[in-house]
């Protein structure tokens, strides 16, 4: 999914997920490094050294899973909780099937309240978890639920 500007991405996050970014997390347009996320508390957003933060979205790489891991807990809607089998399948790059509870499009994927990132929910309930080859993981352990998160 392409976003032309930080503002467009911000509006999308609000409309699709009900996410209002906290004041200290800023999105910024750059000429050749996509839309970047950085901290307001780092001071001025213009630095002589270079660009701060990391890429939230770019034309080449698409949306960053790590960006969604950072903000996903703020979502109010279009969140899909996965069981362990589906979580592990998703993380390793497999497509999974779910009964449709959200409208097709991007969804936030969670496991026991932990934010895995975003997935692409397609028409018949299949979910893709876009992940780069190097980020694919074979998980070998278990984790308890994130306290107080009912996502």
């Amino acid at each position: 999914m392409d976003f032309e500007s930080a503002e467009q991405l911000r509006i999308f996050l609000t409309e699709r997920f009900g996410i209002h970014l906290p004041k200290e997390i800023l999105l910024k347009n750059t000429k050749s490094h996509g839309i970047r996320v950085h901290s307001l508390k780092s001071g001025s957003s213009e630095h002589i050294y270079g660009l701060e933060g990391f890429m939230a979205c770019s034309k080449n790489s698409g949306l960053s899973q790590y960006f969604f891991q950072l903000i996903g807990h703020l979502a109010q809607k279009n969140v899909i909780a996965l069981n362990k089998k589906d979580t592990i399948a998703c993380i390793s790059g497999e497509q999974i099937k779910k009964s449709l509870t959200s409208t097709p499009g991007l969804v936030i994927l969670t496991y026991k309240g932990h934010i895995l990132g975003y997935g692409v929910l397609e028409g018949k309930g299949s979910i893709r978890y876009p992940v780069r080859e190097k980020q694919k993981r074979e998980i070998n352990n278990e984790i308890a639920g994130y306290p107080g998160r009912n996502l």
Binding site: I25, K41, G43, H47, I91, Y111, H114, R137, N140, I143
Partner: protein, 285 residues
Amino acid sequence: MEEKEFLDWLSSFTDSELAFNSLKSQKDSFRINTLKIPIATFEEISQLKCEPLGWYPSARLLSVPIQLGNTFEYFLGYLHPQSLSSMVPPLVLDPKPGEQVLDLTAAPGSKTTQISSLMENQGILVANDEPDREIFIVNNLSRLGALNVIVTNRDAKHWPLKKEFDKVLLDAPCSALGSNLNALRRFSLPGIQKLATVQKDMIISAFDALKPGGTLVYSTCTYTKEENEDAISYLFERRHEAKLEKIKIKIPHEKGLDGLTEAWRIYPQTLGSEGFFIAKIKKVE
């Protein structure tokens, strides 16, 4: 260099057999990434068998081995695999939220992300390294949620901005004799001399980047005097406003050589981790 020859050489610094065996038998360790999860919450959700260490609340030593890179905790950015010794230089640097900090040779970004976490994502942290190593830093920054870092690719021997930073970490490229058992095969005197020349240029460059009153931490994961105490002495000869400072945190260590007793040597048997050299230098106003 053969193992026996190395042990003979190392015995002039410490109990070499103990050091060598401790390095070989070291347990894996990791740092809880407080940028993404509070320590108390991590303890609630994680089922990894590990033990805390008194000197750093985020440090954990694995009691039961597991491939950390294949855990939920790693995938979610809640932890970062890191040797115990390599957690010490950022603690000595003691960065504060709101400061301007430079990590001059930052890849792969373990210490960078630790510094960002100590700064609570507030202030500016410049992480510099060679262009082909940038990808390692960027991956770790995004996975761990470090938002206050700027990655640059300048030549660390000639850092261009003078008197800009409150704190600078120079974890210099070195012969790695303290951390890598394969390194002793590459060990040679000309090789060490070459590295020492680079380190001397870098320490001057790092020191000049400091504001008056600022702090430089110089570290390596090796034992040779040429790469450690000699680099510090070289700086003192050329920059009279450089003063060695006492490291106030309480972590087991041995004293530096050649009268540099405020510098630290950490041998593998000291922390059950890699060998390290650490010196804290103040730029007096």
